[in-house]
Amino acid sequence: MKQNLKFIPFIFLFALIVLLGWELYFSKHGELPSALAGKQVPAFVLPNLFQGQPSLSEQDLRGRMVLLNIWATWCYACGNEHDMLMKIKNMYHVPIYGIVYKDDAQEVIRWLNEKGNPYALIGNDKNGDVAIDLGVYGTPETYVIDAQGKIIYRHIGAITQTVWDQVLYPLLQKSR
């Protein structure tokens, strides 16, 4: 009996090493899952970037799979992903809704006129309130939202062709 007791600490230690090793080699690094994943998009209303046009609320995101892209013209990575967003709109026909994060409306309109507008609707989040409601860390961030208005996935950083092919598009296909 006493002999057996001696091994207990080593079993603990072994379990600990297995746990740490698993964390080190098998857990996904750099992934920041949204705390809202699997939950409904929180209720919000934002004025349209273009004056006089309908506002953007969580109701607009229902009915089909959509992307919700939080971005700004002052954000460098957002410039990088713009071409990809245009491609998603024109080639893959997935509706993209935009939230402009802490930006100057005139500047944004100039940018969209120059580079094209991939967004079905753009809300203007001037002071970043709605961004906090969504748990946004920074721009760009893209949420995949299903037909019931539930957040399925959040991608942090620019959408590249690789990200689209390997992560976002399969998600959209699967949930369709």
Binding site: P9, F12, L16, L36, G128, Y137, G138
Partner: protein
């Protein structure tokens, strides 16, 4: 000496300016606000609270907490609101629950293991 006085004056100004940004009508609310902002992690910084950080997101979160304190929301409500959106990670001191239980128990467990390993050696003497 003159320099010192000048420095003190500047510091006073700074303190004054700081408190003006978030005016409260009661001392309790002011204390709650400063305590809360010290417990909330600035998620885009390295281990700083939002009270210590000047990152834009930290400013926004401070602003949000300020308004929630003014709306008489309880500490628990405010923390819940943030955890629901940013995850348990946003609290500098994680609460004890199913997810963080391992985190809290691990130090005690490790101490216990060390004690168990060392115990036979001490008994032999």
């Amino acid at each position: 000496m003159q320099f010192l006085v000048l420095l003190m004056l500047i510091c006073c100004q700074l303190v004054h300016a700081e408190s003006d940004v978030h005016p409260f009508s009661s001392a309790t609310e002011a204390t709650r606000f400063s305590a809360l902002t010290k417990e909330i992690r600035c998620v885009v910084c390295q281990n700083q609270s939002i009270a210590d950080s000047n990152a834009p997101l930290a400013n926004d979160l401070r602003e949000k907490i300020y308004h929630m304190v003014l709306q008489k929301k309880s500490d628990a409500d405010i923390k819940n609101y943030l955890v629901n959106r940013y995850g348990e990670f946003i609290l500098l001191q994680p609460r004890i629950n199913r997810v963080t239980l391992v985190l809290w128990l691990l130090p005690a467990l490790v101490l216990l293991i060390i004690a168990m390993i060392l115990y036979p050696f001490f008994r032999q003497r």
